[in-house]
């Protein structure tokens, strides 16, 4: 009985540990699913909601054109917090728009207001973003764009899908 009890205790412990391990694996799986979902959300914002790609190009490599001289995000040295602050507040004196609807209505951005910025006020965005959305864009950029070398055909297809000719010029 005592032995049986001891045995059953060990068994219970093992079962419990297995269960915990499974939970951890499940949690990790859920976590990575959540991270992937967030990256996908960030991509959707980058691609369509505020069309960051209009100026920065789809691969974030930067551009000259009707969006201005947009910087290369692939080569940026900024930290996630700095990228988030740039998305939120834009870059005064450049064409990079702000995305917090209350930016420059008080001193939350760089300690200055719209009136103080004058002509250096960054442009209005195509759409405003909340902090979760900004977080998602930053996660997307650090997962798929920032710190990467020149973009590849595979990355292009991942961004645009395979139903378009968009990536054909990169096949060579």
């Amino acid at each position: 009985m005592r032995f049986a009890h001891k045995y059953s205790t060990k068994l219970a412990l093992a079962v419990a540990m297995m269960a915990m391990a499974m939970c951890r694996a499940q949690a990790q799986e859920m976590q990575s699913a959540e991270a992937a979902r967030m990256i996908e959300h960030g991509k959707d914002i980058f691609k369509t909601k505020v069309t960051c790609q209009f100026c920065h190009k789809w691969d974030g490599s930067g551009d000259q054109g009707y969006g201005g001289n947009a910087t290369s995000l692939r080569k940026t040295q900024l930290t996630p917090a700095q990228v988030a602050a740039t998305v939120k507040c834009g870059r005064p004196g450049t064409g990079m728009p702000f995305h917090d609807p209350f930016a420059y209505t008080d001193k939350r951005c760089y300690g200055v207001t719209r009136a103080e910025l004058g002509n250096d006020m960054p442009p209005e965005p195509y759409a405003f973003l909340n902090s979760d959305e900004i977080d998602a864009v930053v996660k997307y950029l650090f997962a798929k764009v920032i710190g990467r070398g020149p973009s590849t055909y595979e990355e292009c297809v991942e961004f645009w899908g395979s139903e378009t000719r968009q990536c054909d010029p990169m096949k060579d």
């Binding site: 369509t48 069309t51 000259q64 054109g65 009707y66 450049t94 002509n119 442009p123 195509y126 899908g161």
Partner: protein
């Protein structure tokens, strides 16, 4: 008995139905196009007539009763899908009306035939969707997903799509009869303009001046669906004007000269007048020393073979991106007591021009925009900018208005968006007044040395942007509507607008001028005073010109609405920052 009465009732309702349905409209002929003003109930051509007037001879709606004008129906359209660099397509089209059926397009090139004969409802009879690869074409549209409308020919509707194809559609059913690939997004070319049909030819050209294209004007034989001719707007070796590209590196091959607004046509001289866009690269004139013909010009061409009769260049070696693609109306008028055959142009560079349309000779020019700083005026003999230096291959114009390579941001007025961009003016022949909707204000330009394309030893690939710099808005832009006497260039009336205008005007014989605005206001102005006489808010930005037509003797005014305004032009304007786009047709009547 019961069955019989049902049949009687059914056949009765069918008869009633057919009585309401307009008799199938006559085929569109060259004769009808030449005499479009004799069918005021229809709006048969892009500009209302070949001469580019955007004038309706209808006057049931006039200055006395316009206060009673009301919305009679609206129709929701599509085309809001995202693609390439754009979150949605926009509406910039001019509706065409023939026999109670209206033909409109959305930004992605879908065509809608809408039965408007009831006067109380617009019923979509058919829709043609070209099924374009939106990412592919939208990624090389410089400034929006746009389509400015269709043309009619015989029993067909002739349309285009952003991806460079032209379609002939069965006017009754919308079924495609043929398609032809004209422009190629693989080279950065797209098509946004409404075709001009002269006899059996449809004439268009490509946008893409920001992507290193070599522009052209192209005619399709509508009987065969094959090319009839193509004339490049940037001349090649051996063609007159090629020597105005002096870089020695064959940069003319990517010289721009895009074409994205419909030409006017003069039946008397059998000539089309096509406005030509910016040279490439936009803001780096050092990349392309020389005058860069025929960028920033008007070309007079024979519509049958595309041969150039003459050209007139507005801004040689343009460093400002002053595309002169917009309309060139045709009028006969007395100038300084002399009868003249004029072709006129409210230019993006801020001047109004009157040219002799038989020779291309400059008659006079006058500033019509509020602020202009890039030149001190025009040479009264040549029409060239006064600050043009014939001894220099790279034009500086007024110092400080364009930053050359390595120089700081310079401020140009009007802004590079122009005084008048593509948005068409309207001309009232009775009052002899041209109504010019404009963008007013200044912006900053910064030049970056343009890199070469791979075919010229550089790193740029086709479809890469090619603008040699960028712009920055340093102050808020606004707009204006000005009534200009085209025989003197004098401004007879003016109204300041809260927003830069990208919609274009309609003039009517009721002595009204209709104009849409970025905040959704649709306003009728008194044609003599430009005092607002009536206004209605459609609740979304209007970037398209209105037209007028009649059904059963009743006049209507129609306009497409649905364009979120560019943050670049609406910068710092809190009243439109939350405006949303949609895709709607609005029709007004008494």
């Amino acid at each position: 008995m019961r069955i019989l009465s049902s049949i009687v009732i059914l056949s009765g309702s069918l008869l009633a139905g057919s009585a309401l349905t307009p008799a199938s409209a006559a085929d569109m002929t060259f004769e009808r196009a030449l005499n479009a003003n004799k069918e005021p109930q229809n709006w048969l051509l892009y500009y209302g007539n070949y001469q580019g007037h955007r004038f309706s001879p209808l006057k049931e709606i006039n200055t006395d009763n316009v206060k009673n004008l009301k919305l009679v129906f609206a129709v929701a359209l599509g085309g809001l899908e995202s693609g390439g660099r754009y979150a949605f397509g926009s509406l910039e089209g001019t509706p065409i009306v023939d026999g109670g059926v209206m033909y409109v397009t959305n930004g992605w090139g879908s065509v809608y035939a809408i039965d408007v004969s009831s006067g109380t409802r617009g019923m979509i009879k058919w829709k043609f969707d070209p099924g374009i690869d939106r990412a592919w074409a939208g990624d090389v549209a410089c400034c929006g997903v746009d389509n400015r409308g269709v043309a009619l020919w015989k029993d067909k509707v002739i349309s285009i799509a952003l991806d460079g194809r032209m379609f002939a559609l069965n006017k009754a059913t919308g079924e495609k009869v043929w398609e032809r690939k004209i422009a190629d997004p693989a080279l950065g070319e797209t098509i946004t303009m409404a075709p001009l049909v002269v006899r059996d030819l449809a004439i268009v050209g490509p946008a893409g001046g920001e992507f290193g294209i070599r522009g052209f004007i192209d005619a399709t034989d509508l009987n065969t669906g094959q090319q009839a001719w193509r004339t490049y707007t940037i001349p090649g070796p051996g063609e007159p004007g090629n020597d105005t590209w002096k870089d020695g590196e064959q940069h003319w091959k990517h010289g721009g000269g895009s074409v994205w607004e419909t030409a006017t046509y003069d039946p008397d001289t059998d000539t089309i007048f096509q406005g030509i866009g910016n040279p490439g690269a936009d803001w780096d004139p050092q990349y392309r020393p020389g005058d860069n013909k025929w960028a920033e010009s008007v070309l007079a061409l024979n519509p049958s073979d595309g041969k150039i009769k003459w050209g007139f260049q507005y801004t040689p070696n343009d460093p400002f991106d002053f595309d002169e693609i917009s309309e060139h109306p045709i009028i006969d008028a007395k100038v300084n007591g002399e009868n003249r055959k004029l072709v006129i142009h409210a230019a993006r560079n801020g001047f109004f021009y009157a040219l002799d349309r038989t020779t291309g000779g400059f008659i006079f020019g006058k500033q019509y925009v509020d602020k202009l700083n890039w030149t001190t005026g025009l040479d009264p003999k040549t029409g060239l900018p006064a600050n043009y230096d014939p001894k220099s291959d790279v034009q500086v114009y007024a110092p400080g208005t364009h930053g050359m390579r390595g120089e700081p941001l310079a401020t140009v007025c009007p802004s590079h968006f122009g005084a008048k961009n593509w948005e068409p003016a309207a001309y009232n022949p009775t009052l002899n007044m041209l109504y010019i909707p404009s963008i007013e204000g200044c912006d900053g330009l910064e030049t970056v040395a343009q890199k070469d394309f791979a075919d010229q030893g550089g790193t740029l690939k086709p479809r890469d942007r090619f603008s040699g710099g960028s712009f920055k808005l340093t102050s808020r832009l606004y707009g204006s509507l000005k009534a200009v006497d085209p025989t003197t260039g004098d401004i007879k009336a003016a109204v300041r607008l809260d927003f830069p205008n990208y919609a274009g005007a309609l003039a009517t014989a009721g002595n009204l001028v209709f104009l849409g605005h970025a905040d959704g206001s649709f306003i009728a102005y008194d044609a003599k005073t430009l005092n607002p006489a009536w206004s209605f808010s459609v609740g979304t930005g209007i970037n398209a010109p209105a037209i007028s037509y009649a059904v059963n003797g009743k006049q209507y005014v129609a306009v497409l609405a649905g364009s979120r305004q560019s943050p670049f032009t609406m910068q710092n304007d809190p009243s439109v920052k939350y405006s949303a786009t949609t895709s709607m047709l609005f029709v007004f009547g008494l």
